[in-house]
Amino acid sequence: MRHLLSTQDLSLANAIRILDTAEEMAAVGEREVKKLPALRGRTVVNLFFEDSTRTRISFEAAAKRLSADVINFSAKGSSVSKGESLKDTAQTLEAMSADAVVIRHWASGAPQQLATSGWIDAAVINAGDGTHEHPTQALLDAFTMRRHLAALNGTDSVGSDLTGFRVAIAGDVLHSRVARSNVWLLQTLGAEVTLVAPPTLLPVGVEHWPCKVSYDLDSVLESGMDAIMVLRVQAERMNASFFPSTREYSRRWGLDDARLARLDTLGMTDTIIMHPGPMNRGLEISSSAADSPRSTVLAQVRNGVSVRMAALYLLLSGDLRDPVPVYSPASARRPGPAPRSTNETGGNAR
């Protein structure tokens, strides 16, 4: 593997490899001197065609903790006002001898084009492309879930997967690169994913995805979930008739106070609440849900740096390019009854 472009083509062995390496990187973050010399003399370019301060500073922190030189390149351009072309930008970076390019782009597929066009020789990391994928977000989410699971089991998270872990992903799946990357990665890691969304915010073709699909958040919660990932909903979607109003959206698909309380009533004491941020408090998630002890929002941000360090390190050190040892599931497995399925499953959800 030369690049990290999507989680769909990420093997189980490589996924575990990245997550395990991220555990080692997390230990670095707990030291007084949060720095490793691993990538000294290497150049990492953060190439952002779309604003995302959070993701950019996460990658920047990751690269700097590995002692890489970091260049931030903001090449903002939209489909309306064309900026510099991707090709010219790529060739510029090639001339500057970039070793890795972390690319965020509003156009789906731009990282893959960058990696396969022959314009540039650097390793490419997809930091979110259009409505396609956001693989490091999914990896940090999986990392967060894996730690949670290991803590519950009293085991070491290193080497473990997410077999049997039940995850609900609720919100605007249609426009979400986070949802796509999570569906593929969580499936690879053995988790059971249920998407919950208004039918208008699910893509045509979702019935082919390796997950369940429901329109009913309450029944999904009742079926028992170990993690509830809430996706950001943009209020602009309302104007395009994806849903009638933000209030109606909140009532039907928001993780509001009533549903937060339901988790206790249902006895789901260990269920975590996740959000990739930035949150629309009061729309898809209530403030009390976002700030509750169940929330892993800040842990996700923290883990993001570790996961991105791992990805940069493995791609630039070449460890992901070599054949990796055959993965054997660790002994750490979640005990307890087999997870139940939801009432509404995929098939006709359009």
């Binding site: 991707l86 156009a107 789906s108 597929g109 731009a110 073709g205």
Partner: protein
């Protein structure tokens, strides 16, 4: 004028006409003078056609020549050279040039450029609405009465989505036996659309172009055509559902004809997984079941013709992010081979059927009297010699079109055009461009003292 190449005569020796019995054809004075076994060559140049199939010159109902306005992408000269190499003797030049071909002046300009180039008949398509804006009818009658004698009208690239305007256009062109060629794409259902909507778009995160956006317009327009008793032509049909609607309309006696592109007969949306914009086209590449339905429809006559939708673009229009890339593919120089591969080698069509869908029917739709004629004595000598056993690898750099955006790049294709005769003049010989027919250019008219 004894050296005038158009006055030269050619004896084609032993060609299999429509892939059937081998025979000789004598071409003289722009016509097929004689046909039969063992013809005497006399002073004619003999062309050994052993192993070759003789077909009527192909007629493309749907070509983008880009001139005037986008000469960086294609010119009438380069596009019609590509057409000749592809086995065509006539092409219909779509109206979305700049300025738009929505007046008699512009269509006469394109027509004259075609005459000057002399590689094929260039028949302009007139815009249905002024500036392709979908607001008011262009002067359809003036274009019909012009020297270009326009009969096909289309806003191709843009759908005539206003039902009243579409109805009026369909009615109006009856006055001069015209036809409206509809680009069936419901605009609201396809805002920002990037590829076929389905299981691949769901994964790739590209905005979907749903089949229903094409099918709903076709359903509406066949009913309109029935209501007003007009001729309707559907450009580049791409879905299985569209085929069903057209089949239904034809059983009701509605005067609808339909076109399919070579690329929609072969390529599927799976190619988009590469995010390579060479596969970006409108209508988009669809699913395998659509491809199979289109092939079956072309074989059974539900779809009438092959239209290339040849759409050359400069490299920068494709060397960019998928969402920013232009839509369209070149097609003139690969059409014959792709149709041979998809239709003939699959057993769905024979060469006679090939001639029907690539020549006779498109000429009839465009009302081209001298094109698409059978290879009989006395008919205009518009014909092509094909080596069906040839195999070649597509190299866009080696093509005559300026466009390098061939989706078949690197593929090995069957069938090669060995010679193209345009009004008896060899525009292509030995598989290479020969010379254009200048007999109808203004220079020739001046030298010859006019009519």
């Amino acid at each position: 004028m004894t050296n005038d190449p158009t006055r030269g005569s050619f004896l084609i020796r032993g060609a299999a006409v429509l892939g059937k019995e081998r025979t000789d054809l004598l071409l003289q004075d722009g016509r097929i003078a004689d046909i039969g076994a063992g013809l005497d060559a006399g002073s004619a140049t003999v062309i050994d056609a052993d192993g070759l199939v003789a077909l009527p010159g192909m007629v493309d109902p749907h070509t983008h020549l880009r001139e005037p306005g986008r000469e960086d992408a294609e010119t009438v000269e380069t596009g019609s050279r590509a057409a000749a190499l592809g086995g065509y003797t006539a092409v219909h030049a779509m109206a979305n040039s700049s300025p738009v071909a929505d007046t008699a002046g512009v269509v006469e300009q394109v027509f004259s450029l075609g005459r000057e180039a002399g590689w094929v008949d260039v028949r302009p398509v007139g815009a249905v609405t002024v500036g392709l804006a979908g607001q008011q009818l262009a002067e359809l009658g003036a274009m019909a009465d012009s020297r270009a004698r326009v009969r096909i009208f289309s806003d191709d690239g843009i759908c005539v989505s206003d039902p009243v305007l579409m109805r009026r256009a369909l009615e109006y062109v009856k006055a001069f036996d015209g036809v409206i060629a509809q680009h069936a794409q419901e605009p609201r259902l396809t805002e920002g659309a990037q590829m076929n909507e389905g299981k691949v778009s769901a994964v790739l995160g590209l905005a979907g172009w749903p089949a229903v956006a094409e099918e709903s317009i076709i359903a509406r327009d066949v009913l309109l055509a029935q209501h007003v008793g007009s001729r309707l032509h559907i450009c580049h049909v791409s879905t299985a559902g569209s085929v069903e609607l057209i089949r239904w309309a034809k059983t009701r006696g509605i005067k609808v004809t339909a076109e399919v592109t070579p690329h929609h007969l072969w390529l599927t949306e799976e190619l988009v997984r590469s995010y390579n914009p060479v596969y970006k086209v409108n209508p988009p590449l669809r699913a395998e079941e659509d491809v199979l339905a289109l092939r079956a429809a072309l074989a059974d006559g539900t779809i009438d013709v092959i239209g290339t939708d040849h759409a050359p673009h400069p490299s920068e229009a494709k060397d960019c992010e998928w969402a920013q890339a232009a839509m369209g593919m070149t097609g003139l120089e690969t059409a014959l081979s792709v149709v041979q591969h998809t239709m003939i080698e699959s057993g769905l069509l024979d060469w006679e059927g090939f001639a029907r869908v690539t020549s006779a029917t498109p000429a009839r739709i465009g009302r081209l009297a001298d094109q698409g004629r059978p290879l009989h004595a006395g008919e205009p000598a518009n014909l092509v010699l094909v080596d069906p056993a040839a195999r070649w690898t597509v190299d866009p750099q080696a093509m005559a079109t300026k466009g390098r955006n061939s989706p078949f790049s690197g593929r090995e294709l069957p069938g090669a055009v060995i010679a193209t005769f345009f009004r008896g003049h060899p525009t292509v010989l030995d598989g290479k461009l020969n010379t254009p027919d200048r007999s109808r250019s203004t220079a020739a008219a001046a030298a010859g003292g006019g009519k």
